[in-house]
């Protein structure tokens, strides 16, 4: 029985079981028309193999680390929140139920815990924030994040470093700024004549880009970093923000 398209193609693509292939090769040994058919199909396959790579562009490098991020975090926190709500709900029902001993237990515990009249000075007020003069924002970088900085008339500086936190933190060290964030974009605006920013990016962030206008100052893609200036000895990139109009 001569070769049909299915078996011929499977022979070329090594998709035949060993016995089937042996049987076909046995047939080919004595069948000139089928051998010619196989030779022609091999020549055509080679031609396809020569032509298709003409479509190719250089492949960008991708790393598994670029796509691996902590899994199921949202789910875990969702479950925890659901458990807390469930526990609170059950406690409320038990407290409100007529004849429930929970009511009495709560009263006795409250009596035990009630503080004695204050005889000591009031505790000091909570310490002020680390840097009361700075404003800032922390956002999750997600799969990708673009931080768009303003270009003040007098220019500015952005000090960029990597940290172990989960969020990208942008602080305005000098000047005042407002922040607006979208799904994958954080836009910083300022009306001051110059501005200095301190930006800490999560070391594990997949892709974070810092831009000013149409220029890219900094790009972190997985472990790779491209920046408009190299890092200092402390690992901080001091990136100059060009004045508006330049």
């Amino acid at each position: 029985m001569h070769l049909d398209d299915e078996r011929l193609q499977r022979l070329l693509d090594r998709e035949l079981a060993t016995e089937a292939e042996a049987s076909i090769r046995g047939h080919l040994a004595g069948c000139e028309p089928c051998r010619a058919q196989v030779t022609g199909a091999e020549r055509e396959s080679a031609e396809v193999g020569r032509l298709l790579p003409l479509l190719d562009d250089p492949l960008p490098l991708l790393e598994a680390a670029d796509v691996m991020r902590p899994r199921g975090r949202g789910l875990i926190w969702g479950r925890r929140a659901a458990l807390v709500f469930l526990a609170l709900g059950l406690a409320g029902v038990a407290y409100a139920a007529p004849g429930s001993p929970v009511n009495a237990w709560v009263r006795s515990i409250a009596t035990l815990l009630r503080p004695a009249p204050a005889r000591t000075p009031a505790p000091p007020a909570p310490a002020a924030s680390e840097d009361p003069e700075t404003s800032g924002i922390a956002v999750s970088p997600g799969e990708r994040l673009a931080i768009v900085l303003p270009s003040p008339p007098g220019g500015g500086l952005a000090y960029v470093s990597l940290g172990d936190g989960a969020d990208a933190v942008v602080r305005v060290v000098s000047g005042k700024a407002s922040f607006s964030s979208g799904i994958d974009r954080l836009v910083v605006e300022t009306s001051d004549s110059s501005a200095i920013f301190r930006i800490v990016l999560p070391r594990g962030a997949s892709r974070v880009e810092i831009r000013v206008g149409g220029s890219r100052l900094f790009l972190k893609e997985g472990p790779r970093i491209r920046a408009s200036a190299g890092p200092g000895t402390d690992g901080v990139y001091a990136l100059r923000i060009p004045p508006r109009g330049l």
């Binding site: 011929l8 250089p58 492949l59 991708l62």
Partner: protein
């Protein structure tokens, strides 16, 4: 009647996969990294050839693997799963102009390339040939075009059938037909038997 049998999984062809099978219970992360290293390039090249947009292809491959990782376990046929997901993403990307715009405007000039760029004098000839190949491909029905490109990347018949929702027993016939149609459209084969 002769019988044939496709490999149990397409990566059974790869030498490294023998090690994978020998390992007692690789974690999901280990399996994922291995799958990524072995197969992301061919998925990327397939999408690049289908879409004609290397940047878009890279984004889609990344998205497809992100979705697989977030799934937390490997499906029965991970490669077919990846192809299906990537093709759905491509369909979505093609139908939403905003995403397309974002992808096209995202500068990737600083990407590290694995192959050297062609010299200027080579570009014109290569551009003409590329145009002819793309035109020939676009004359094929979508299914045959995708089959031909998947087969060129070495995907198994089982994965091709699963990804394109075909009967695996007829993949060879359809591929032979696609090959002939492509070469005829390209002009390097006459329709005469």
């Amino acid at each position: 009647m002769d019988t044939w049998m496709a490999p149990a999984a397409s990566w059974a062809r790869c030498p490294e996969s023998a090690d994978a099978l020998a390992e007692p219970t690789p974690s999901f992360e280990e399996s994922f990294v291995r799958l990524f290293r072995l197969h992301h390039v061919r998925l990327l090249r397939y999408l690049q050839r289908v879409s004609g947009e290397p940047e878009l292809a890279a984004d889609l491959v990344q998205d497809a693997f992100v979705r697989l990782y977030r799934r937390g376990s490997l499906p029965d046929a991970p490669e077919a799963w990846l192809i299906s997901v990537a093709m759905n993403l491509l369909r979505n990307a093609s139908s939403t102009g905003s995403r397309r715009h974002r992808l096209l405007t995202a500068a990737r000039a600083e990407e590290v390339h694995s192959d050297p760029l062609p010299r200027p004098d080579e570009s014109a000839t290569a551009g003409d040939a590329r145009h002819r190949v793309r035109s020939a491909l676009e004359r094929l029905p979508v299914r045959e075009r995708r089959m031909l490109l998947l087969q060129a990347e070495g995907y198994s018949y089982r994965d091709i059938a699963a990804a394109l929702e075909l009967n695996e027993a007829s993949v060879g016939t359809l591929l032979a037909r696609a090959r002939r149609a492509f070469l005829t459209a390209y002009g390097s084969r006459s329709d005469a038997p």
